[in-house]
Symmetry: C2
Subunit: 226 residues, 2 copies
Amino acid sequence: MAYRKTERVEARLADNRQRILDAARRLVSEGGWAEAQISHVASAAGIATGSVYRYFPSKADLCVEVLSVVSQREVDVLEAIANSADAPCQTLHVAVSAFVERAMRNRRLAYALIAEPCDREIDEARLVYRHAISKQIMRIVKDGQAAGDFRADLDPSIAATVIVGGFMESLIGPLSPLNADFDRSGTHGPDAVRALASQIADVCCAAVTAQPGKAASSEPHPRRQA
Amino acid sequence: MAYRKTERVEARLADNRQRILDAARRLVSEGGWAEAQISHVASAAGIATGSVYRYFPSKADLCVEVLSVVSQREVDVLEAIANSADAPCQTLHVAVSAFVERAMRNRRLAYALIAEPCDREIDEARLVYRHAISKQIMRIVKDGQAAGDFRADLDPSIAATVIVGGFMESLIGPLSPLNADFDRSGTHGPDAVRALASQIADVCCAAVTAQPGKAASSEPHPRRQA
């Protein structure tokens, strides 16, 4: 009996924790980190404020957990793409555009995760996941270099970091709730999002793709004019 | 007499303000934003703590001012480079490598300005200057497109944003005080910094440079394999 009771208690505790996280994620998806106040989350989750503190000692702890769960999912998606058997050029393009399109599907949440000014603890957790995302992109870059598709003269770690910084930065404007332009001009339907994702991926791919018919060169500016 | 006195008072006030800013910048250059506590800055500037508050109502105000002054200087440098009469490929390479090399010259300060987890007010000011830097890079990209040196199929704003995000992100690792590797391996002398800057600039330039002998194409993955 005691055993079964403990099991039930544990299941309830896990269930509560999940409900709190779900509520927090929903609120952040609506209004960013400012919405994730403990009392606010508690009422959205239907749990007493004091109980929420049993699971998450502070708002920062709760926010970091929301960021971790959502970000880890994106890392997993990128890992699956990096594992594909497609040509590296194709794989890199798919990886970048998938990331962009997924972010644009829940813009407010993605803005919070990627760019919204936030407290230091959240910002620290962001860097951890940026690094994890960078590792997956670096795998694709190394594959592409091994296959001769990507320039061999680039440090794969630098190339991956430039690519990740590049597509993250290019999301800030389109994601920003302050950026009314992207909405107002009606450029935010599925086709426009696909076009945006494809453009960003084009630039990222161009950064590493070997130029056909031209040996990779470390010459920084081969087309210098008089 | 009253006029001269006012002049003297104003000069003293301006001088105090500058001394406070200089002290804050020095402290941030040594240990990041955490060092810029008002009492700490006051003692470094040789000014009473209460007086510092007359110029900067909070630590955040002081930090934002430090960030603004230093970042505006970098924007000015990029603007001067963008105004040069060199070929756009060359100009873009110089702009990116100059930014990287200047950042590496005062790594701790640059880390604080670019990447260090920080309070929301500082993070907001960062975004403003990222945008100003992006505008200068976009000018170079547009010049390059007009000259036929850069791919015409790229949105110049997206290309500029990817480039700025890319070189900023690629600085985080090398700048980070937590990243002992860059120091330990002795790869942080002037030659290594120049090589790093050149690699980052290579990747950024490759992202937008038109491929010689090949029409610009919006085909995302031209070299797809079976």
